[in-house]
């Protein structure tokens, strides 16, 4: 206790030196907080981007469908289940979908078929939720249900359209297997093309009105899944609970986005490792900064430590004194750093920094908004102060050892 009081007093004795050390710690803390906030922000954006592209935060399907992809195992929603989906708390909405694999070709003699993933969608619902319908190219329209006897409508991924040599207004031939294994084949008119910057959709995807696809495949009311979109990630746990109530696990499967886009989870984990590596480098720089100031202060105080030793203070106590001083400095620096950093991050979260035109273009290719997004991450709040404090303690070890070894004889000669 006395040591602590001495340490505290010592800090006050050379205010300029202490202020400099604290400033170094504040600066380091700020850098780490901002660094973590940028990576948390970009993670948040990647997630939102991947989820909104098509999958949604949750996918509800009938048990067995994800393995077989057979229409026999498809989902049929009861009126109660539709009501439950409509009433989900914190949800932005849900969309019924039917997916089917097929072959598609140009409507010409001896054309070669290509694999195509048909997405039967409700365009009106989808527009406010996923990016598929919103990504329709100018001049195109979302596919509608054909009038009786009219031509069926389809919207193609722009890469697929190019590979087929199909333009707006052209017809294409689509072949698939209907619910009874029989061949379903028909002409579809291309009413739109879309680009979402994902090859598996742009190159192999095609949109058809949900009812149209159900009729084409004799699938009745069957769905591949219902996709649920949350308004905010904070609503996810509550939605998950409600979904699992409405769709019991013995007959249904409710998957959440980490299961729907596992690549993304891996990507994020990789990013996390990279962030901590970056922070590690930052921390090493900080450690040397602290080490330097504390070491200098020890050199300046040879006389003082000599007197302490001459008065009978044990080397261990001198060691503790220096470590305590350094810890107090770090603690003050970290506290100040967070006091400045958190409001800054919170402000930047609402005011993303726009990027210059060139960099912005490169990012827009991935379908992202060209801004630097910040977000407060939990790890920066909990782990970071502890790590920083540890670094402060580590940096004080060498000076503390040095101070504890000081002999009164040397102190006599010191100025």
């Amino acid at each position: 206790m006395m040591l602590l009081r001495m340490a505290w007093r010592n800090l006050g004795r050379n205010k300029r030196r202490s202020a400099l050390t604290i400033a170094a710690a504040v600066f380091a803390t700020l850098l780490c907080v901002l660094n973590l906030a940028i990576s948390a922000g970009s993670q948040k954006r990647w997630v939102a981007n991947a989820v909104e592209l098509y999958p949604g935060h949750f996918e509800v399907s009938a048990r067995g469908y994800r393995d077989s992809h057979a229409l026999d195992d498809a989902l049929v929603l009861s009126p109660e289940q539709r009501a439950a989906l409509d009433a989900l708390p914190g949800a932005a909405g849900w969309a019924p979908r039917l997916e089917a694999f097929g072959l598609i070709s140009a409507d010409s003699e001896r054309a070669t078929g290509r694999g195509v993933q048909l997405f039967g969608i409700d365009a009106a619902r989808e527009r406010g939720l996923s990016r598929l319908v919103r990504s329709l190219r100018v001049g195109g329209a979302a596919p509608q249900r054909a009038a009786p006897g009219g031509r069926r409508q389809i919207a193609l991924g722009d890469l697929l359209a190019r590979n087929l040599g199909a333009k707006l207004g052209d017809d294409v031939i689509v072949v698939s297997a209907d619910a009874f294994g029989s061949q379903a084949a028909d002409r579809f008119r291309v009413v739109g093309t879309f680009h979402v910057a994902a090859d598996e959709l742009d190159g192999y995807g095609a949109l058809v009105d949900l009812g149209e696809l159900q009729e084409f495949l004799s699938a009745g009311e069957r769905l591949s899944h219902a996709a649920v979109f949350a308004r905010d990630t904070r609503a996810l746990p509550a939605i998950s609970v409600r979904l699992r109530q409405a769709f019991p696990a013995d007959r249904y499967e409710v998957l959440s986005w980490p299961q729907l886009v596992p690549e993304l989870v891996q990507f994020i984990e990789m990013g996390d490792v990279g962030d901590w590596f970056q922070n590690g480098l930052l921390l090493i720089v900080v450690a040397f900064g602290l080490l330097n100031t504390v070491l200098m202060s020890v050199f300046e105080r040879v006389r003082e430590f000599g007197v302490l030793r001459a008065l009978g203070m044990r080397p261990r106590a001198v060691f503790g004194l220096v470590v305590l001083e350094s810890l107090l400095l770090s603690l003050l620096g970290i506290a100040l750093g967070f006091a400045l950093g958190i409001p800054l991050v919170l402000y930047l979260e609402g005011h993303p920094i726009p990027l210059s035109a060139d960099v912005g273009k490169a990012i827009e290719v991935f379908g992202l908004e060209p801004v630097i997004q910040f977000a407060l991450s939990r790890s920066s709040l909990v782990a970071l102060p502890l790590v920083l404090l540890g670094v402060g303690a580590l940096a004080s070890l060498l000076p503390a050892i040095r101070a504890s070894r000081g002999r009164p004889v040397d102190a006599l000669r010191a100025t």
Binding site: S68, D72, L103, S105, D107, E109, R110, A111, T112, G113, R114, G115, I173, V175, A177, F180, G181, S182, Q183, A185, D186, R187
Partner: protein, 258 residues
């Protein structure tokens, strides 16, 4: 006789049975395939597809010209699928879509997709891959199958063969060389084989001197409740098949009766 030649002779005598064994395996496969396909085969088949939820029956006529590596299949029943036709000439595979009156080339990547919702693949129906050409056979035993004395063979794909199965196990009737059972394997991890599907033959009748099974039943082992049974209603082997059959023009004759 010198010592060296005596040694050679005894060595070759010792190795002879092994060599004969290896030749025998290929010969057994050739005879079984001959029994099923002949040099050419024209057949009328009734195919029954069974799933846990529905059953469907198709009647088809098929022309298999093994010598020229081409085949033709036309669906006769049910009315919904009538006229759908498939032409294969070497590795070019075409289907005729009567509803839109268009021929579409099916890309090679689709050869292992289900044929018309059955448990047979496009490749099975079009007879593109060949047990003789694409696999190396080894005789592994002679255990009887359901009381019928049988050769047991193991087939592994040749290195460059365009096939997907990692291994086939065949049981062939020892007396007649009629095929009894084919089991198709996948190899998810090296050395770990997993049976994917099973083709059981039955009702062997002699056609043109060949023991032709008239019932083929395909069971996928990963889909409980699914199976496809083919019954031969007519079969003629080794007749000369007209070149006109294997043409685009014939493909478009969707309503033709032949």
């Amino acid at each position: 006789m010198t010592r060296a030649s005596a040694l050679l002779l005894s060595l070759s005598l010792a190795l002879a049975p092994l060599r004969v064994f290896a030749i025998d395996a290929a010969e057994i496969v050739r005879r079984a395939e001959d029994a099923l396909r002949g040099n050419t085969a024209e057949m009328k088949l009734r195919m029954t597809i069974t799933t846990p939820n529905w059953t469907r029956e198709l009647v088809i006529r098929s022309w298999d010209d093994r010598a020229h590596d081409r085949s033709f299949v036309r669906v006769l029943e049910p009315p919904k699928d009538k006229g759908t036709a498939f032409l294969r000439d070497h590795d070019a595979f075409w289907t005729w879509l009567p509803r839109v009156e268009r021929a579409m080339r099916i890309p090679p990547s689709m050869m292992l997709q289900s044929w018309m919702g059955s448990d047979f693949t496009n490749d099975d129906l079009a007879r593109e891959s060949s047990l003789e050409k694409d696999y190396v056979a080894v005789l592994t035993g002679e255990e009887p199958l359901d009381g019928i004395a049988a050769y047991r063979l193991e087939l592994r794909p040749k290195p460059e063969a365009p096939v997907v199965f990692a291994k086939l196990e065949l049981a062939i009737d020892k007396a007649s060389y009629a095929p009894l059972l084919y089991v198709y394997y996948d190899e998810p991890q090296p050395g770990n084989f997993e049976a994917l599907r099973k083709l059981r033959f039955g009702d062997v009748r002699t056609v043109q001197g060949r023991p032709l099974p008239h019932v083929w039943e395909m069971t996928p082992l990963d889909k409980p409740g699914h199976s496809t049974r083919v019954v031969l209603e007519e079969a003629q082997l080794d007749q000369k098949l007209d070149d006109d059959i294997f043409t685009q023009a014939n493909l478009r004759r969707s309503e033709a009766a032949r």
